[in-house]
């Protein structure tokens, strides 16, 4: 709806008709956060290996989701994973620069091992993560999405922006490479 008085090209008055009421956006965000917080974190933890950083990236992802909601769009899990992935890639670029600087000692309470973690076969998990980190990024991404969030090949393809057949190849090759690496270790 427009109430306008034009002087040449200048719109003198126009009612704002876009954007989401902040209260509604916050309410919708709470629902989305509750539904997707865990899979987004699991995926980001799988690709950045630093759990504290994964927590930050997850928070950033949902902050961006709020902007999406305010703009009248509803972010689904695919959008969240894509956004988290982009944030991780940006963070990786910045980390390359940061690695040149002295590191401060930082022990995060969030990184403390849980009883669940302790119950895992820690040695095997560490081996899996080490091997995963050595895969080329596209293969690592596809595998992380598959096994951290249980997405289908089609859904993974949507997140990483590749065709389904290309995604399937990434998964197959990534798994084959992991098998080689883990068997070499054994």
């Amino acid at each position: 709806m427009r109430l306008q008085c034009m002087n040449g090209d200048a719109v003198a008055f126009e009612i704002e008709t876009t954007g989401v009421q902040p209260g509604l956006a916050a309410q919708m965000l709470e629902e989305i956060y509750g539904a997707h917080r865990d899979p987004v974190f699991r995926y980001l933890r799988s690709i950045c290996r630093d759990e504290d950083h994964a927590l930050d990236l997850t928070a950033v992802t949902f902050e961006r989701a709020f902007a999406e909601l305010r703009a009248g769009r509803e972010p689904g899990l695919g959008w969240l994973l894509r956004t988290g992935r982009n944030a991780a890639i940006d963070g990786e670029r910045r980390a390359r620069v940061a690695r040149l600087l002295p590191r401060r000692s930082h022990v995060s309470q969030a990184a403390a091992p849980s009883p669940e973690d302790a119950a895992l076969d820690a040695e095997l998990a560490a081996s899996v993560l080490r091997a995963l980190a050595q895969l080329p990024n596209p293969q690592r991404d596809a595998i992380a999405l598959r096994y951290s969030t249980e997405l289908t090949v089609r859904e993974i393809a949507g997140v990483i922006g590749k065709s389904q057949s290309a995604t399937q190849k990434l998964l197959d090759r990534g798994l084959a490479r992991l098998k080689e690496m883990l068997n070499d270790l054994a």
């Binding site: 008085c5 799988s46 995060s108 095997l124």
Partner: protein, 200 residues
Amino acid sequence: MTSPDIESALRATLSRPMTSHQRVALDARFRDRLEAYTHSRFRVRRRGLALALVAAFVVAPTVFAGIRLTESPNGLSPASEFQTEIDAAEAVVPLPPGATWPPYLVADKSASYSRGGGRTWVEFVSFCSWDWAWLASTASGAAASAQADRNQIEAATSWEFYQGEFATDSFRYSIDQVIAAVRDGDRSQVQRFVVLNCGA
């Protein structure tokens, strides 16, 4: 190690749930970021809106006053007159029980406005409020409230914002779509409308 072994190890490693420590930490960081985002965005938005209003309402009428190129059907009115229109409309335009007029529904003193637009603006805000109310009533299963909300929404076609000189065919079509969705009980369509159109 066989392929099933590897898949099993991957699943166990990558899909292990968040710990309670991690969940608490994430919740805190999420709230912090959201709060910071909300404050910074609204500050910028208000400032941007104020600048746009100053440019559009004050500068443009001054520059073009001599050649009288206005498309407003009744010409421009000062903010005080527009505020009077808003106040008068707020006194008679219905709101759902418990609802109040939003704080942004005021005239900026440094601006000029389309004469007669105050009532239209107030009615549009009211229409949004009834849509919100209908969504709340239908969500909670309050049939009587939902019917009362629906009656008000349907009555909006007789209002000035729908019948008057500021309404366009596309605007009326949008309102018709909302009314049809309410009649059909289509909550998602109504929600979509309010999400897109009923912001501050």
